[in-house]
């Protein structure tokens, strides 16, 4: 499988996940979007040493994963792109910040280690939240929600049109890459002599495609306005989800549940 085929596979997977029927899938997109943003904002607002407070925030994604039935496995695969940069940045913390913050037995844990862990956990949690949003909400439904939040129609339409053609283009390139590889065994990528023409050829064809696409719009009476499927109305249930979750996030932000729980048992 080449990269493009993997990407196509990922797209198909997200589509399938989003087409599920769990209670989370049933919630309206604006409520889910706002809740996700609230979650990420709260997670990011934790200080760099507030590890125990942060860890409690795991409950939201865990609950959502369970209720929605989305598998955690495919989520881990997504981590591969973003996490390395987070790691690279975080890995320096233990080197520069060596003050011992807690002493566990004879082992002292430095501030740098804690802040590094905090950073990485933040990275994982935030990605989990947006992954859960996308795994339970089809992208066209999300776009309709964005339109509701008064995002300009141009941008939303462009997003949907692009999304529609990403599959088409990626597939075309996947086939081209395969065809190239078959005639160039042993080459890892595109040889320098084909740097320009490989993508260039497709680019020229794409321009013709864009023209045909536009013609097809014109022939069906297009005058600069796209009509999308009507958005599902948000109900009290959706509002309750958003408000309930946000209240919990805030509570967890200001009350260190882990600390509290722990102090019941220790000390």
């Amino acid at each position: 499988m080449n990269k493009m085929e993997k990407a196509l596979h990922e797209l198909a997977e997200m589509d399938e996940l989003a087409a599920g029927t769990s209670p989370i899938h049933g919630l309206c997109a604006p409520a889910k979007l706002l809740t996700t943003i609230a979650y990420i904002a709260v997670v990011l607002s934790f200080g760099k040493y507030q590890l125990s407070g942060l860890i409690v925030m795991v409950l939201y994604p865990v609950l959502l994963f369970q209720i929605s039935g989305v598998s955690v496995g495919s989520f881990f695969y997504k981590l591969r792109i973003v996490l390395p940069l987070v790691m690279a940045v975080g890995l320096f913390n233990p080197i520069f910040d060596r003050r011992i913050l807690i002493q566990i037995g004879t082992v002292g844990v430095s501030g740098g280690v804690i802040s590094m862990l905090t950073l990485m956990i933040k990275g994982v949690f935030c990605l989990m939240a947006s992954y859960l949003l996308m795994a339970t909400t089809p992208i066209d439904v999300l776009c309709a929600a964005l339109r509701k939040f008064h995002l300009p129609a141009t941008l939303v339409t462009l997003l949907l049109l692009t999304y529609r053609y990403i599959g088409v283009m990626t597939e075309e390139l996947a086939v081209m890459t395969e065809a190239y590889a078959l005639r160039a065994p042993g080459q890892k990528g595109i040889h320098v002599s084909a740097w320009g023409s490989f993508l260039g050829q497709l680019l020229l064809r794409s321009m013709d495609r864009a023209e045909e696409l536009y013609n097809s719009m014109l022939l069906r009476g297009y005058h600069q306005h796209f009509h999308y499927a009507p958005v599902k109305k948000c109900t009290g249930k959706d509002a309750a989800f958003f408000l309930g979750c946000t209240a919990c996030f805030l509570l967890l932000r200001f009350v260190d549940l882990a600390q509290l729980l722990g102090s019941l048992f220790v000390r």
Binding site: A7, I37, I40, L44, S52, G53, V56, L59, V62, Q66, R80, I81, L83, L85, V86, V89, N93, I95, F96, L101, I102, I104, I114, S115, L117, L119, M120, V124, F125, C126, L127, I139, L142, L161, T162, R164, Y165, I166, V168, M169, T170, L173, K188, G189, W195, L199, G200, L203, L204, S206, A210, E211, L257, A258, Q259, L260, L261, G262, S263, V266
Partner: protein, 353 residues
């Protein structure tokens, strides 16, 4: 260069959203004034193409590494800065939402770092001045034009990538999440991105020169008035020019990459699948539950030591991590595991019924 949510404080993320949002607003306004209804489908198809095109691995001669294309320069050379910017916005949004590249909060910053510089700075300060200038005029109309395209692409990619990398450093430092001194961080990021920029510039130049040879009218600010002269020879000449530049750059890069067989991809911070397995290993360690499990182990060790000998350092009052915190975290992890078990149980029951 996709930044994750974790690298940003909410305030910085919000600021970058405002900045990118403003740029997008102005672009949409400008596009509406242009009133070219055919542009939208063209933008969509080109954006989709660039999205896919960025996945192509280009072999860099003389090294074992491969490079990728730079979307921002290509898009603004084809569509103009505003349409190019909006196309990049859409690409980055889709990457963020469906592929987990970057994050929902960091999207504003990522748009700024990658789309704004690539499209606006790249176009207004580099592409247009060079393309409209008289540079290389002595080489003849066509060869001069080609040389200008190559120069603009390379300069454009290098400079916009430097700006992008610089912004990543500033945004991360302002967010206060790294202990890495500003200067050291900068010294780490800029040279790597210089190399990446050179390679991206060459690849982008190759694509744009190809477009120029076949359909010059597709490119912005390219003078298409003069008749095309023997395209075949000129293509050869182009490849020759490219080859020379590539050799020089490739030589430099192989030095950089020598320590690591896939140096460039490593430098891209794991854009490669190669790094995947290692990353996965690390992921699971930093995943909440398992790290809490590690904490539990610590707690047990603590108990067996019988002397709960832990202490806060002097002034850090904001520190929320203490021994009780560790125990609490472990409890939370336990609850999380219970939820998982319960969920599995219920689903099995459902499937059975």
């Amino acid at each position: 260069m996709h930044m994750a949510d974790a690298l940003l404080a909410p305030a910085v993320a919000a600021t970058m959203y405002v900045a990118s949002g403003t740029a997008a607003g102005i672009s949409i306004h400008k596009l509406k004034k242009e009133d070219d209804p055919a542009k939208l489908p063209t933008m969509a198809v080109t954006a989709a193409l660039v999205f896919a095109g960025q996945m192509i691995n280009y072999t860099i001669p003389g090294t074992g590494s491969s490079g990728h294309m730079c979307g921002g320069m290509l898009l603004s050379a084809l569509l103009g800065p505003q349409a190019g910017f909006l196309s990049m916005v859409v690409i980055l949004t889709i990457q963020c939402l469906l592929f987990g590249d970057g994050g929902l909060m960091a999207l504003g910053a990522n748009i700024w770092n990658m789309a704004f510089y690539g499209c606006f700075v790249g176009y207004y300060l580099i592409w247009r001045p060079i393309m409209q200038g008289k540079l290389f005029a002595g080489m003849g109309a066509k060869a001069g034009q080609r040389a200008r395209i190559i120069l603009a692409s390379i300069l454009g990619c290098v400079i916009t990538l430097q700006l992008g990398a610089f912004s990543v450093v500033i945004e991360t430092s302002l967010s206060g999440i790294t202990e890495l001194p500003f200067g050291a961080f900068l010294a780490l990021m800029q040279p790597i991105h210089l190399a990446i920029g050179l390679v991206e510039g060459l690849i982008t130049a190759a694509v744009l020169v190809f477009v120029y040879e076949s359909r010059p009218e597709l490119l912005r600010d390219v003078d298409t008035s003069d008749k095309a002269v023997s395209a075949k020879r000129s293509l050869k000449a182009t490849i020759a020019i490219l080859a020379v530049v590539v050799l020089v750059v490739g030589g430099g890069l192989s030095l950089l990459a020598s320590g690591n067989p896939d140096g460039l991809e490593w430098a891209l911070f794991g854009n490669a699948e190669e790094g995947y397995s290692e990353n996965m290993g690390l992921d699971e360690e930093s995943f909440g539950v398992s790290s809490a499990a590690a904490d539990t182990a610590g707690a047990i060790q603590e108990k067996t030591a019988l002397l709960p000998d832990y202490a806060f350092p002097e002034s850090e009052s904001a520190v929320g991590t203490s021994f009780s915190g560790v125990v609490g975290s472990a409890l939370v992890a336990g609850v999380a595991v219970l939820i998982c078990l319960a969920g599995g149980f219920f689903r099995k029951k459902k499937a059975g019924a």
